[in-house]
Amino acid sequence: MTRIMRRMRIGRIPRIGLLAGGAILLCTGQLMGQVSTVDDARVERGRAVYQYWCATCHSSGPGMPGTTALAAKYKGKQPSVPAVLEERTDLTEASVKFFVRQGVSVMAPFRKTEISDADLEDLISYLTRSKAR
């Protein structure tokens, strides 16, 4: 597991409410207040990275080639996998890192002047946030 995931596990932050599309994560980890604040801040920063770099191609709605591609990829084979990236619960640190730094099909990889290593860590926190519940 990653450094972040390890920290999250140690933090044991039971998230009771993830507001879909909203900007607030409610936590009951008051006792772990310090840790949960840090991790929530990281998830929030990751959400911003996602909005800036990924959402333009991977959101729901028309004109989103990333979403169209993933819908076609999983249709019939893994119908339970959502086409919209941020709705997925199966993403891992390795998979996010791989696609950001290697690219796939028409998606070129992202340089560190675009998504820095720190941004990538935040993005991973955001896209794997369901695992931290």
Partner: protein
């Protein structure tokens, strides 16, 4: 560590240390892992020994840092290759034209220095994307539009410098023409400002392009004479309304009059938006063929079908051969009157029919924003990347694309000639598709054909496509058609076609290159301009 050509490991090591002192260690990249991110994912040479790759990358954050990096590069004679956002996919991406160069990555210079609603203009740095500029304007609720190209993550400066185009009105969609004033770092590290920017204290840098004396901005586009670190642009005040309308004409030969009338309509200022010509009910060129299956099959036939055969079937089915959609931006009453006048003019073609589009009041509602062709309304997106991407109808996605994009004369006759020649070439080159050559009109006065070739991860396929592409460049040149823009691997061939008077223009470029960059450090090979020591046997 990779070493740039012509350098010793020791010298490059010293230079890297100095780069790090200027920009910070974090922003100098020399590991394979980091440099792989500078590979052009859309390179037609991907994975081959000839692929153009970087030896390093340096990412300054200010013009002062750019100056210092350039001085170091000049001292050590290190080839450097400036990129802005590095997203010029299909035309080279973030990879250098000369393999082994150090990429000067300007993405971190992403400041929007000024947006003036009063003057409808802006001044930006190279790392500012269309998404960035549009969001800034929206957040501040300014009543301005940015003319955007298809990929919204492109650099406003980079796109203009590579002669990119957009979709709104004629005044703005030629992005280089819509710029006003530049700041450029030269190979010796000196900074110049062009136009009124050269006059200390002038408040008109983004108002008057020329200043006095030679207007040199053009030599910094598609070239390697300097590094543009700031650029001003004229922006479009949000118009009151948008109206579109479509003219359809039944016969193949009707295109000749259609184009002539269209040219008048545009040049006279009756229609200010970007027209689009379609064939047999197809949409925007490059996005899908005819909706009718039989006609689609006829067109998709390897090498195409003769126009007479297509026209016969189209007439039988009552499908017009050509359609042309026009766009009008302005006051609601004015655009309605302009469309009426347009219809009157096109009525001169027997059998012409018209379809009125919806009149949209601007700005658009959120619901309207979702359904429109976004770039026509200054909305940046990445929708165009659906080309080649996986979808239900395309289960085998590509790894990108490259564009063959020759400029041809703006007449119906030239379109017919291009269709005939390029269909024949499709057959001769055994392309798996037929080049149908529908013109697009990003710019006034000339047509451009935009033809996509897929990029794959199969070396043999890429080689075949490269060979076909190079042959098409030659065939086009034999007919007087030259590309307006191209990827690094084709730059020599494309620039070589502009050969009037024993390549006099290229020799002039080389004279400038030798004078302003005697060590030949900036973007060697860009658009066929090589520094003296890499010019080989060419005179």
């Amino acid at each position: 560590m990779r070493i740039p050509p012509g350098l010793t490991a020791g010298d490059f090591g010293s230079a890297v240390t100095q780069f790090e002192q200027v920009v910070g260690r974090e922003w100098v990249f020399t590991s394979d892992e980091d440099l792989n991110l500078y590979r052009d994912a859309y390179s037609p040479l991907f994975g081959e020994p000839e692929e153009r790759v970087a030896s390093g990358a340096v990412a300054p954050n200010s013009v002062e840092q750019v100056q210092q990096v350039v001085k170091i590069a000049n001292t050590y004679k290190i080839p450097i290759y400036p990129i802005s956002t590095g997203r010029n996919l299909g035309y080279g991406g973030a990879a250098p034209a000369y393999s082994g160069s150090v990429v000067l990555d300007l993405k971190r210079m992403n400041r929007i220095l000024e947006v003036s609603e009063r003057n409808a203009s802006c001044l930006v740095e190279p790392g500012v994307s269309y998404f960035d500029l549009c969001k800034y304007i929206e957040d501040k609720n300014l009543k301005l539009w940015v003319d955007v190209p298809d990929p919204g993550w492109g650099s406003v400066i980079g796109n203009a410098l590579d002669h990119g185009g957009g979709y709104t009105t004629a005044l703005y969609r030629n992005h280089f023409d819509a710029h006003c004033g530049m700041e450029v770092v030269l190979a010796n590290g000196e900074v110049i400002r062009t136009g009124m920017g050269a006059l200390p204290g002038a408040g008109t840098w983004q108002q008057f392009k020329f200043g006095v004396g030679p207007w040199i901005d053009g030599i910094f586009s598609q070239s390697n004479f300097g590094i543009v670190t700031k650029m001003g642009f004229w922006l479009m005040p949000i118009p009151d309304a948008y109206l579109s309308g479509t003219v359809s004409v039944p016969r193949h030969s009707d295109l000749i009059r259609l184009v002539d009338i269209l040219t008048y309509i545009e040049n006279a200022g009756v229609s200010n938006g970007m027209p689009m010509i379609g064939m047999l009910g197809s949409g925007f060129p490059g996005l899908g063929g005819p909706r009718d299956k039989e006609l689609g099959a006829l067109l998709a036939r390897p090498g195409g079908a003769p126009p007479e055969e297509i026209e016969r079937l189209a007439l039988q089915k009552g499908i017009p051969y050509w359609n042309c959609s026009l766009r009008f931006y302005g006051p609601a009453k004015a655009v309605a009157a302009q469309w009426e006048h347009t219809k009157e003019k096109f009525s001169a073609i027997p059998g012409a029919t018209f379809q009125d589009g919806e009149l949209l009041r601007l700005p658009l509602t959120p619901e309207q924003r979702q359904r429109v062709h976004k770039p026509e309304f200054g909305i940046p997106s990445l929708e165009m990347f659906s080309i080649g991407a996986r979808s239900e109808i395309n289960p085998n996605p590509t790894n990108g694309h490259m564009w063959f994009s020759p400029i041809i004369p703006r007449t119906g006759e030239a379109v017919f000639e291009a269709q005939r020649v390029l269909s024949q070439a499709s057959r001769d080159l055994k392309l798996p598709f037929n080049i149908s050559a529908i013109p697009t009109m990003y710019w006034l006065r000339a047509f451009v054909l935009i033809i996509a070739f897929p990029i794959t991860r199969d070396i043999a396929t890429n080689k075949r496509n490269r060979d076909a592409f190079n042959r098409l460049v030659q065939i086009a040149a034999e007919h007087g058609w030259g590309e307006y823009r191209t990827a690094p691997v084709f730059m020599d061939a494309v620039a070589g076609a502009y050969s009037y008077n024993s390549n006099a223009l290229m020799r002039f470029h080389e004279t400038i290159k030798d004078a302003v960059d005697p060590n030949g450090i900036i973007s060697a090979g860009r658009y066929g301009i090589w520094p003296k020591h890499l010019r080989g046997n060419r005179a």
